[in-house]
Symmetry: D2
């Protein structure tokens, strides 16, 4: 299981609002198999087997082109831990337990 | 108002667990003025006036050194919109309204 | 043609030096087909058809695990322009011409 | 001494070309004290004392607004090593020596 944080920015969109593109990307994610995902105000967090996460990232990157963009800047950060299972919920719980 | 997404990784920590460092960073954030923040499983989202956000990012970057780290890799993404107010909540609401 | 910037950080290494891991990653890149690449002091820049670039990024991400790492944080930024060809050299030349 | 990699993307520009903005940013960097910098095809690498690097990053982030942008997405990665001096050139040399 890997966790990824993805931000996809269409360039040259003429307007500063990107929410229509972000909405299109959420629709693309909804059709991806084997992952869970969550939208934050800065990116989308994707969780699942590494192979499925890569597929979802690639689909997200392609989405704005489908919506008319001609240039896209995609940023990805992947946290891949193989010594133990580490879901988003477990990572957050681990920090919370240390804050108490 | 700007919104930033920050991930701070101490390098050479000997163990793969970073939650103690993340907990220390949350304590540092709690002492910062003028910002709100939220921990996700991949980063910390900070929101406030740009000047205060930069101060908080700088403090976050320094935190692992206080906790004993000798090398730190910090990643930051800032979304700064000056044509209209854009809080985290407004950004999410804008996407949600387009998904309906 | 897409251009990517990739940084791969093994987490929980015994020392703060990562150059042995970076050297292993360069060897992995040397075996990838269809791309060109360049090491900077902060990342590796990869250039080629998007499909080949994704494969190279995936191989880079896997490399530290082959070298013994148990957890890896990989950061990627992709610039994908489809309205005109845009190589690394063309991008730099375009900026240089505007600086004169 | 810290090393940073910075990418600044103006959002909502009329065209997909960003080279004029990048040229303006290089002019802003030329006026910053105490740092050295290098433009790659994907970002600008800045090197110097941490305090000066933060100032340069902040100036880079502000630059597109001076050039007319209304929204900017800035990505930063900082490598800060305090157990030994680590310049860009030393980092590259360390990898090269391991590749031989």
């Amino acid at each position: 299981m890997a966790i990824a944080e993805v931000t996809v920015i269409p360039i040259g969109t003429a307007t500063t609002s990107l929410s229509a593109y972000v909405a299109d990307m959420q629709r693309v994610l909804a059709s991806q198999q084997g992952i869970s995902y969550q939208l934050t105000s800065m990116s989308t967090i994707i969780e699942g087997p590494l192979e499925e996460v890569w597929k979802a990232i690639s689909a997200l990157h392609d989405a704005p082109f489908m919506s008319g963009a001609q240039r896209v800047s995609t940023s990805v950060k992947i946290d891949d831990r193989r010594d133990k299972a580490a879901s988003s919920e477990q990572k957050l719980q681990s920090v919370r337990s240390k804050l108490q």
